[in-house]
């Protein structure tokens, strides 16, 4: 199938924005004089940590669910995730009124399990391996006829995630660069499609931890190279690209920066301290890229999407 049909266009992202608008927050954009002084550029933080469910994932999940309008409301949705997509899909399902079954590894953080339960989703626990997660999800689908909503490698998920950059550029059309964290690549795919279609001259960069640099290596190699045992504090960025997100990123992203764990923690601390916002480590990765490459960004107007704010307060890196 051609890109044109496999991946959403700006037109589709705009339709998605309209579709989900009654369900999501139009999140605010924060700036910090001190961070601008430290980095010598102007940074506009799009605060998806203040999105419902505490992460941008709620946009894609809501969009995917609303696109099931021709599927009987008795058919549940399912996914396998131990992260923000699980909570987002559970909350969106509750809001829209469709049963949600989440396959979670039995060692998933207590706080994530609680969130999914709070939104009344059913949880199926499995062993903590990708194989067990996939086979458990398949079993759920077989038994219930549930529709799988993949966390990132999904047309409507990508379209939904693209609405954050759309809003950011509607509010700040003067941006010259946007930098987006990349794990599975849903947010970077959607953002890069939006941004390049709205403003072809804009630079779109991905940012990922050195310890989980599969997107960087995949882009250089021209094919998907999955992460093997990625290690990083940025727990939202452990996943590898899928075929759709690889395609979108290959077509639209100018480059990917890989950053150290030290820079991630420094950037996270800086945002906490100067914006008074709680952001999760994954969200600090783009600012870490700026801190490691100050001369590249000097005097530029930069947009950064703060992807989420779901942090275990008992396990802070400071």
């Amino acid at each position: 199938m051609d890109n044109v049909f496999r991946l959403p266009s700006l037109h589709e992202i705009k339709k998605s924005a309209e579709r989900i608008s009654a369900f999501i927050h139009r999140t605010p954009v924060f700036t910090s004089g001190i961070i601008d002084e430290i980095t010598a550029c102007n940074i506009y933080f799009k605060c998806e940590n203040l999105q419902k469910s505490g992460a941008f994932k709620f946009r894609g999940a809501t969009n995917a669910l609303l696109n099931l309008k021709d599927v009987s409301p008795n058919i549940p949705v399912t996914t396998h995730s131990s992260g923000n997509h699980a909570g987002a899909l559970a909350k969106a399902s509750q809001a829209i009124g469709r049963k949600c079954i989440v396959v979670m590894p039995e060692n998933a953080p207590k706080v994530k399990i609680e969130a999914v339960k709070y939104y009344n989703a059913e949880i199926v626990f499995c062993k903590p391996t990708l194989e067990a997660r996939e086979s458990s999800a398949e079993k759920v689908i077989e038994e219930t006829g549930a529709v799988l909503i993949h966390p990132y490698n999904n047309y409507h998920i990508i379209a939904g995630q693209g609405t954050a950059a759309l809003e950011l550029l509607e509010d700040y059309s003067e941006l010259e660069i946007i930098i987006i964290p990349v794990g599975g690549g849903g947010l970077l795919s959607g953002s890069s499609i939006s941004a390049k279609a709205i403003k072809p001259a804009i630079k779109v960069f991905g940012a990922e931890p050195m310890g989980a640099d599969d997107a960087y290596r995949s882009l250089k190699a021209g094919k998907i190279i999955p992460s093997i045992k990625p290690v990083t504090i940025a727990d939202g960025l452990l996943t590898s690209l899928g075929d759709l997100t690889f395609e979108a990123i290959s077509s639209n992203v100018d480059d990917i920066f890989c950053v150290s764990e030290e820079s991630i923690i420094e950037a996270m601390r800086m945002v906490w301290k100067f914006t008074k916002m709680i952001i999760e480590p994954s969200s600090a990765v783009p600012l870490a890229a700026v801190l490691e490459n100050k001369s590249l960004f000097k005097n530029k107007k930069l947009g950064i999407i703060i992807s989420g704010g779901n942090v275990d307060l008992n396990k802070l890196p400071f």
Copy 2:
């Protein structure tokens, strides 16, 4: 002197709001569905942690400085403070263009000293006693002719602090109750004057830690009873009322709640977790009062002013 002249009126607070409007942030108001569910009421958080300098103190400091327009710009201002007033006065002085000399105890937190330095204020260190602070400030005044800007017991400071509740009630006129943390009482004084004048039927409560309950005891006794060795995690609420703030609070505040340290930490954690905002312990005291008195507030529309977000990230209570 009569109250009418000693304390600002709503008219004066509105004039102050106009005067400072170009210098301050009109801070946003946050809500949380989960916190509303836990408390069984509707809480509107006015986010002064997102104010410049990270605290409501910037309103009063800016207002006091702008009221010095007849004082030669060569005359500095001074204050003694180890807390948010020091940073706010330093930042406001820098913005407005007047020299600022802050007397700080030599054991003040490093992060506060850095903030004052960052805003180019001069620091005079002294021994960590009230006597040393006052005598050092007097010496500064003698030597430089500086104008003392008291942290709370000052007409223009109280008027400036009252602008936060004014904005909150402009945005949410349906509020039935507001709860304000009380230390020296500047914020509670200004807020209670604003709120009662705008909406006489509104209930205005103060909230303070049991370990620093001088405002509660003073109100019951009908005279100022200073704190002796107050102990609380809410480091912004260690100070005792002054004569002006005692007067304002006696006239306008319906009651004061005293809360436990455990409730303060629980409330702080709840705001961090569910609103993704960093608030300092002092700001959690009103929510702690709600948690300890749920039946009193059931189904009510409550306003809470989040007073600040300046926390030492190396010394978190969780």
